[in-house]
């Protein structure tokens, strides 16, 4: 009987020796949860809703004036932002190349040299009318990521038109720069 137990123990030891190398020491593995779908940013495009835009420029104005005819580098100074029934032209357009709807956020930095005292924006549906500069009435909070509350659905036909205007400071002979950021939140 003792020999049998010894033999059984021997076999079990052998099996254990063969199995042990496969054993894995498990540590405290943190389980992480995250969505994995690929998503593209909102594109800032030219007035034709196709070409990507790199810069927006406001033309020179007299101190204290409102400047509402900015233009982008693709359409050029010959095709600035324009107003009026049927001929409203945004400074740039927004396109959601992703697969889900985004809420549009913006961040506009303060103009250098204190050139601009305030800025306003308007986000319209594609081809929507912007009667005049007064219609651009959403006040910009400089240097802050701010939600517009407006959503943009994915794909063609859902583009948005962006209108901008600035009010210049009273000091003459200065030039300033700023950056415009358009962010999307799912």
């Amino acid at each position: 009987m003792g020999k049998r137990i010894l033999a059984l123990a021997g076999v079990l030891v052998l099996v254990a020796v063969l199995v042990v190398p496969m054993a894995v020491l498990a540590g405290n593995v943190a389980t992480q949860s995250a969505s994995t779908s690929s998503a593209a940013t909102i594109e800032i495009r030219a007035q034709n809703y196709t070409a990507a835009v790199a810069t927006i420029t406001f033309p020179e104005g007299v101190p204290g004036a409102t400047v509402s005819t900015p233009y982008n580098d693709v359409d050029g100074s010959g095709s600035p932002q324009a107003f009026g029934g049927g001929s409203s032209t945004p400074v740039v357009t927004l396109y959601n190349g992703g697969s889900i709807t985004y809420t549009i956020w913006y961040n506009i930095t303060t103009f250098t040299n204190d050139v601009v005292s305030s800025e306003h924006y308007l986000i319209n549906t594609k081809g929507g009318d912007c009667a005049n500069a007064d219609a651009i009435n959403q006040s910009v909070a400089f240097d802050a990521d701010t939600t517009t509350g407006t959503t943009i659905a994915a794909g063609g036909g859902n583009e948005k038109d962006l209108y901008l205007k600035i009010v210049l400071n009273a000091e003459a002979g200065k030039t300033g720069t700023s950056t415009l950021t358009i962010l999307g939140e799912s």
Binding site: G2, V20, Q32, T101, T103, D145, T147, T179, I182, E185
Partner: protein, 226 residues
Amino acid sequence: MLKRHCIKIRGCHCEPKAWQSHIRNRRHIKLLVVALLLGLLFIPASAVWATSVDRLSLCNLEGYPGEAVEAKITLEGTDPQERSGYWYTHYKEVEGDDDRMDITSWIAIEPEHYTIREGETKVFTVKVTIPGDAEPGLWGATSEEAGEAGHSDERRTYIIFKDAITGGNVYSGLLIPVSVKVLGNPSPLAPVVNFVKANMIVTALAIIIVILVAVLVRRAKLRKIG
């Protein structure tokens, strides 16, 4: 036109080479038409000129106080022009928030700055260092559903990437919410329990061997006494 030409050649028995050549041409035309139709399937409806990301949220990351949790996030360039950008953190302040909502100081993204070209992918490491004195529970968001689309109201802490055509002043990017589930202090027996769970067969065999050896030892002792 093609049909008519075909009949003409079919009627001509004295020029087999011309007939074979004609058949070959028809096959080529058919292949060309099929290739063109297949090609249409791969033409995108609209060119994509923005940077893509593989994750829209980094919510419910889990870790113990004092631990660092790491997650990878990948950007892909789709703009024909080179884009330059960077990552940063953002806290969306809401009135009435407690100190669990702003965890921007816990987060570091490496590398912070980047340039990306069309077809290029870049991997970034988001390192969330949980302070040693952090109480268990959810941090950075008001609910575990914050990572789901449309749950913006429940989010507080974000990482953001944004980029522009190099030299441009017009940026675009995405907000990616981050939240952490801080776990209670682990039991000192947790590694043992985890080992047993992960190695059930080995553990069972070891127990059987120990019992058998104990039986043998006992029998040997009994024999000695006897």
